[in-house]
Symmetry: T
Subunit: 157 residues, 12 copies
């Protein structure tokens, strides 16, 4: 049977594996929700929001690849299939059909908020057992918190 | 109520809309299946197949964006959410966990075959009513048929 | 007398020639109208609309070059002089002086709508006699319909 | 009513405004005439002249943008619409249909000569009241005089 | 025995296969003839024609690759060997030794004319059975017709 | 004692030196004020204004380097330290904390207006004694007047 | 009132906010001091030190942007105005006028030393409450310590 | 005597210095072993393994530079000479002469495994006294664990 | 009659001319054989061999251009027409139809071996009379020997 | 007889022509002197001075091209032949053989000083009759004064 | 006294030194003659010849740098000053004033012919004593012979 | 047993093989010595020497790859392992710990001198039996002799 030889003990692998799998589903769903909104946004801020959403898509795709390959590097098979994503994501289902621009911004504020909150918990759990994997969580949470601010800044003031 | 003014008649829009929505779900799922296989492939051809799968991911992502924006350009809201993709895709669920390299290649042969077959039907239906949308189908079917050949060539000979 | 040797029969050339010349005038005028609006737009969405208009200018310039060189390739002299453009364009004269941003968006919605509608007719006529030239119409109509949607999305929602 | 706050007095604005509007029409028409000749040139020097004409097109487009935005920066609405260009350009109408290569070169010698001569007068008038705008004229006249030499060099010797 | 699984019926494959194989031989020979002329041209227009011929070489090489890979994607082995090309090309043998520049231009006018004429027939035949392959013919015929015009423009006027 | 050998007489150097030092402080402060606003802007136009402010930052940084190196080239030591900037800038202190988007735009309208007005005076003084240094003032005033217009255009209409 | 929703508790925000604001002032001042020295250095090593100082400027500018946007992402308004920088920086005022090259190197050794020492304290404080912000400190301290070494190596040996 | 001024206490420097020197030797040897295998691999997977090995060489070279410059930044002279590397590396001597492709893959699995295991120990030791240096270890261990997985994936399945 | 003035004596030209013409035919045929194999290879190593073959195509095309232009530079008309290539190449006809991957590798080992062997003889002959032309042979033989090794390495081990 | 049609009167052309021809000789000689010094410099600052000299070479070459093409654009034949340069340059002959680094720097201080001084006189003369040509002098004098400063800064302090 | 330590014996250095110094003067003069002709060419082939001449300028400049640095690398001070070039070049003085295009082409045919002939003799002399320096001659003679052919081809046919 | 089929006779292979293996060890060691010095240099010329050393590292790495692949192409297994390098290099062991800048320059003068001298002997031996391999020696000796001059120039004058 196939197994990557890892220097990490089994209980560490269990903690790290659950965190990485959860993060993977969240990041893939974030990329799908952001694309969905990118296509369905309407209103005076159309172009500005349309472009900003693709920044989130690119971030989410890049981080999901890093997360999945980290799992594989530890001998843990990542699962990024559509059904798995749909059933385990931390994000509430995105609205159907067209979204006015302020509604579109709110969709992302909610989605990013949910993903950040859930993965800060995972980051803390992982940080206790493997600082290499923790660093991967730090990098993507930092990025998502920045996107979170930018979308909040748009709907305030 | 929001509506894009289109010069196409309503029955044409209905045919084109169903075709585009179907193609969108297939192309998003193809990108997810190819990434899933990219992460889970093992065996002597690991690196070669790993890289080849990212070519499919990039193709599928670019075409799905074109397809969704074409729908929007005709006043039809595209739906690319995870649950929609999971329920309406033409691709059979990808295998769970690690895949040996020949099995990984076969997964793609099957997925690409299913997507090509289904979308050739849509291409024919659309071609009867709107040559602009038909051209979008021609471009992505051409690309996918080329990927289809390349994966078949790997598992023969 | 100078003549390019074409394998197309004379009546085909007549249909194709009229379509290409008409499209040429429309595309040049579209580039001028978009630039005019780019310089005269004012209001809170100034920068966003200012940038979006240059995307249309670039599209229109590139397609006008393709259309004119296709005519020349068939032995038909293209006419893109200012007076010819002014007299034969499908676009209504753009408003004089400054335009508020929503008015600027509407100017483009109207201009793009007029050009798309007129050239879909030409595309159909050409499609009956020369599929190579038809493909050139398909490519630019596809692009303009996408710009058309984007400007409509800005004035709705 | 909309107005940009300018530190220039009104009589200065009048001089500068007329000069910029005149230059704008000339530069847009120069770009159209050069493209027209780019498409219609024939003869043994076809390729060389065809390419050289696109250098003029690019120069004229870039300078027309600078000129129009300078007008706007001073609170003067620029007018670059096809009819305005056709009626106020300093360039004689370009010949219809195909042009032999030496004739094509002469078309540009004439067009560039007319634009340089007229705008040197404007440059002098503007130089007396606003050195910032004068600098914009210096830059494009310098460029056009260089193109003028190059086309003259081709038809002499 | 090796076979790519294609969704096209056998009689369609026969039509498409013959067209693609014929186009492949023509495009490879066109690249060889253009290179031969590139090396053997002499006369006052040497540099201009020398460079223009490499544009044709690059076009022909890129399109021959697309055509051959389309055949393979349909399960049809392409044949691009020297002897096959020499025996089945639509182009008359290029002249031996040095060619004056007007003669060199004429060689290309003839070669491009022959290839365009023969492949317009193939494009029509293919267009009746497979719009995806037809699109490949449309793209390369469009390109070659443009080169054809450019070389004709050089020897006229 | 260190001294660059300059061909300019001493009284000329005094005029030019005071002008360059004043411009340097203004341009550095402009870059700091624009960054401050870039970080603190909120509201529906957040992204559009956020990006536009970085265009000002880049302009101001590049021009401040040119101005300082011109001073050094004439043997005059430039002073760009924080305290010098804070005490001698022509710009009023930027608001503390978050700024709504229209307020942010106004901050820049005021800052750019102050810098342009003060440096037009310096440009005139310098222009009487050294046309090389004058050209450096012309280039940056031209740029800042364009930014000034753009921010004014945003708050009108 | 405007507020970014942060998952961090209030006492954590207070610690992190003071650290980020202090680092921001230090990094902006470091960029100004390095530029000041870049313009005023003289002596045989002029060019080498002149170039090396711009490396520090680029580092300091990039890190100051990251630090300020991190503050904003946590709902804390960053303050990078000239007066704030002048009053709160950890760097002693840079020398006035020209600096010989060894003196210029010493200026940077001192400035970098002061910034590193003060921000290592902040990094430790932040590390106890938010590992995401701590990572931002780690990245810039690492960079500045490398610059610190390089300038020390220049004045020894 | 030459000394970089470091804010770290002496006992910390001792721990960090031994870890960095050990890592340096390992990373240089890894680059040499990977190049050796790059040149000596044979077998059906030659090209794929040949290319993959250069990815490791590039990683190892970049990380060795970072590690050595970190040592220097702390005032510790790094030693990367051939004899030092040969005597202190954690990697067993690579096989002499040609290596079949599966043997070549195994050489890297072993070398990467040894380097990762030894440097995880160093990372833990360093993490207790200097989080800046720890981050350098985290970055290269993360990279090497990813390469380790990829080579293991090739020899399994 | 046209003649390039060469400083080489006639008997030298004869030796050099035969060698260059022979090398030209070999290099063109090598590019055709490598492309043929690129399109017809099948089997598990499909992608790796498919890509490696394009490296040979690019080498052969670049060297054939250098060889032909060297002949022209010496006043010797090069002949690269399809029939000439087919009749005078040193390579045995490539197999018809699909080739399994190990067979494809062997086709290249044989083709490269034949070309290297024949052109080493030419290189020696040329080296006795013109060191400039000899250098051209050295460069392409060096390249082909490297490709030869790489394909041999794939079929051994 | 060949003549470019210029709108400038004859006495203006005489003044401008003498100035441009003088500047041309100076700039070509400056490029040769700087290269000579680039090759012959020795001493501890070798690398730094060696690189800095190539910056001067690039400046001088670019400006000499602009100056010569300006002359041609006015119908005045430029003369940049070696003997003309040797006899009319404003620069004293550069030293023979190797130059220590401080001597090399002094060679450039002298050469740049001489060229700046002589061309400031020409700039003033030209400025009275043609502001377009004057701008060309302004641009290159500005550049050379900056290089002049940099070399002076190296030999002082 | 300064001396580079060379492993070549003194008599070898004498042969090599004279050859390199002669080649240096020829290559610098070739760059000046080609630029002179670039500025003074007139006639129908103006643009084509104007561009082709800059290819020679770039070749000559690059090779002159290689030749001079080779001399320096052997401890031989290169001399590239204007007077040295004017007195020792192998090229006859280029014609004064404007040159018709065929005359311009002939100027280059003559200049290149003279340089090639003289340096083939030097190449043979050097080849007997130092194969490294010989390789430098081979590379530039090969290039110049190619340019020589191209200009000859233009004036024949 | 694995063997590359080479057209070179056995005694030739023996000479060439010993030369290539010796050169490989020298070039790898040169890259290690240059990096060692890059990290340990101190003194006023720190930055300049630090950068110059990386130029040597890049040269040495690129040439070592060429040399090793040439050996493999002839069927000779290259050995670039650390112990082999340490025992067979022509370079004396580099000094331990920090090196003042003039000492660092001398280290490279000595290392480059030793490598050049030893490999000129190998180049002569190889030149008698295989001109293709000889060319590889010519290229790297040429490069190293240029670096050798540059470091000597730094310690003289």
């Amino acid at each position: 049977m196939y197994a990557v030889k890892s220097t990490l003990p089994d209980d560490t692998l269990k903690v790290v594996g659950e965190a990485l799998q959860g993060a993977l589903a969240d990041l893939i769903d974030l990329s799908l929700v952001a694309k969905q909104t990118h296509w369905n946004v309407i209103g005076p801020r159309f172009r500005s929001v349309h472009l900003q959403l693709d920044d989130v898509v690119n971030s989410a795709r890049a981080h999901s690849d890093t997360v999945a390959e980290r799992a594989a590097a530890l001998g843990l098979s990542p699962d990024g299939r559509a059904a798995t994503v749909a059933h385990t994501t931390s994000i509430k289902t995105a609205p159907e059909s067209w979204q006015k621009d302020d509604q579109a911004v709110q969709t992302l504020v909610d989605a990013l908020g949910a993903v950040v909150e859930r993965n800060r918990e995972r980051m803390d759990a992982v940080g206790k057992v493997d600082s290499v994997t923790e660093d991967i969580f730090i990098q993507f949470v930092k990025d998502l918190e920045k996107h979170h601010w930018m979308f909040q800044a748009e709907n305030n003031g």
